[in-house]
Amino acid sequence: MSVLSLELGIFIVGVLGASALLQKNRHEAGSEGTRGTIIAGLVFTTVGIVASGWTWSIHNSLMKSGSSSMCASEGLVQCGSVIGDPQWNNLFGVPWGVIGIASFAVIFFFLMTLYLDQNAKRVPQFVNYLWYLGIAGLPFVAWLVVIELLLVEGAPHICPYCTVIHLSMIGVFASSYVMRERRANSTW
């Protein structure tokens, strides 16, 4: 199975597009810049949710048949050895994909609230919540990278879908940073 598939391509385009949007709007003052920043965060989050769902499907198919047609299972860049590793593919029995869906859903809710009403009184509070969630996500990203590179059976391996999710989380962190910056500089 080829490493680069249509789904992976779409996810990568999503992450790159969100990054470009964030960069473009970072220094653009006013509500248009704010809206663009929030949309960039929403795109990162949507990619995170969908890619998490994809890894959950891979997890389920590996549990069912020991292999998955949704991702390569051999070589350095593959999912089988990462998502299929019984020791590291879950947190207290919950697949990482499910944890990803739940985490990005919370972030999506806060971002969508900001998107729908950029002038509500709750804005400073919700921007702070997003900042804290972004910070909270980074240790998990670091831990999962350590698992891929050092701990799974036959390490190192790089799971491309997992990497997309990690980049999405870093994108959420960057978006929340820019939002806080905009609040602090009164360019919201």
Binding site: I49, G66, A105
Partner: protein
């Protein structure tokens, strides 16, 4: 500060409707993703109950020669069609080298292995029960499996069977199958066990076919493992 206060005061009051729409949008996106994920690959039931996929694990194992990394699912035949007699069934046993009942079961297991080894792969998982005089080590596991000298025959805590016996005197013959060490009792927990010995029979594809507690526990039909092997695997 004054500037920030002035800016904050520009914010209008909160609208509950915004929260509602954001909640609906979030629920919609999450529902779509969950439905699509499950449509692509449904959840597989994993656990000790019959009909479930047995919990997979990776752990240190001893095969009589050396310790190596053992993965349970590596011995499963994922493509087993339910009929093929070429694939081997799996008997998984949980013991503690210091548990008196496991000590006694050593002989029974030797007999089962002698009878079924051509059609059943045996795996023993050694757990470390949190009981006084139940401190086992890799050397003790090796000695229990190999029926070799470890400890004394005095009740001094040194050896197998709660430290009452030299492992050399374990009932039965040396066990010619893989022994897995579970020092953190994580495999034991995945199987939702509270004591040893415990045995289960797995289909060649790793599905639990017979769980001792379901048959010999409260409300069970009392089926013995030998009968279960006969029923499931057929003539040895």
């Amino acid at each position: 500060m004054a500037r920030r206060r002035a800016k904050s005061s520009d914010l209008t009051k909160n609208s509950e409707e915004t929260l509602l729409w954001a909640g609906l949008a979030t629920s919609g996106v999450v529902s779509l993703v969950v439905i699509a994920s499950l449509a692509l690959a449904p959840i597989v039931s994993i656990g000790p109950d019959e009909g479930n996929r047995a919990p997979d694990f990776v752990a240190d194992a001893y095969n009589g020669g050396a310790w190596y990394e053992f993965r349970m699912s590596d011995i499963w035949d994922w493509s087993w069609d339910g009929n093929s007699s070429e694939s081997k069934w799996i008997l998984i046993q949980f013991i503690d080298t210091d548990c008196p009942y496991c000590w006694e079961e050593g002989d029974e297991m030797s007999q089962y292995h002698s009878q079924w080894k051509d059609r059943v792969t045996f795996v023993t998982v050694n757990v470390h029960l949190n009981i006084p005089n139940h401190d086992s080590s890799k050397s003790e596991i090796e000695a229990f499996r190999d029926r070799s000298s470890f400890g004394t025959d005095d009740n001094d805590g040194d050896g197998c069977n709660s430290g009452r016996d030299n492992c050399l005197n374990r009932p039965g013959t040396p066990h010619q199958w893989t022994y897995v060490d579970d020092p953190s009792n994580s495999i034991f927990s995945q199987w939702e066990l509270s004591g040893t010995p415990f045995t289960a029979i797995l289909q060649p594809d790793g599905i639990v076919a017979w769980n001792k507690l379901k048959h010999q526990g409260q409300g069970g039909d009392g089926e013995e493992m030998s009968s279960a092997l006969q029923r499931l695997v057929g003539d040895s």
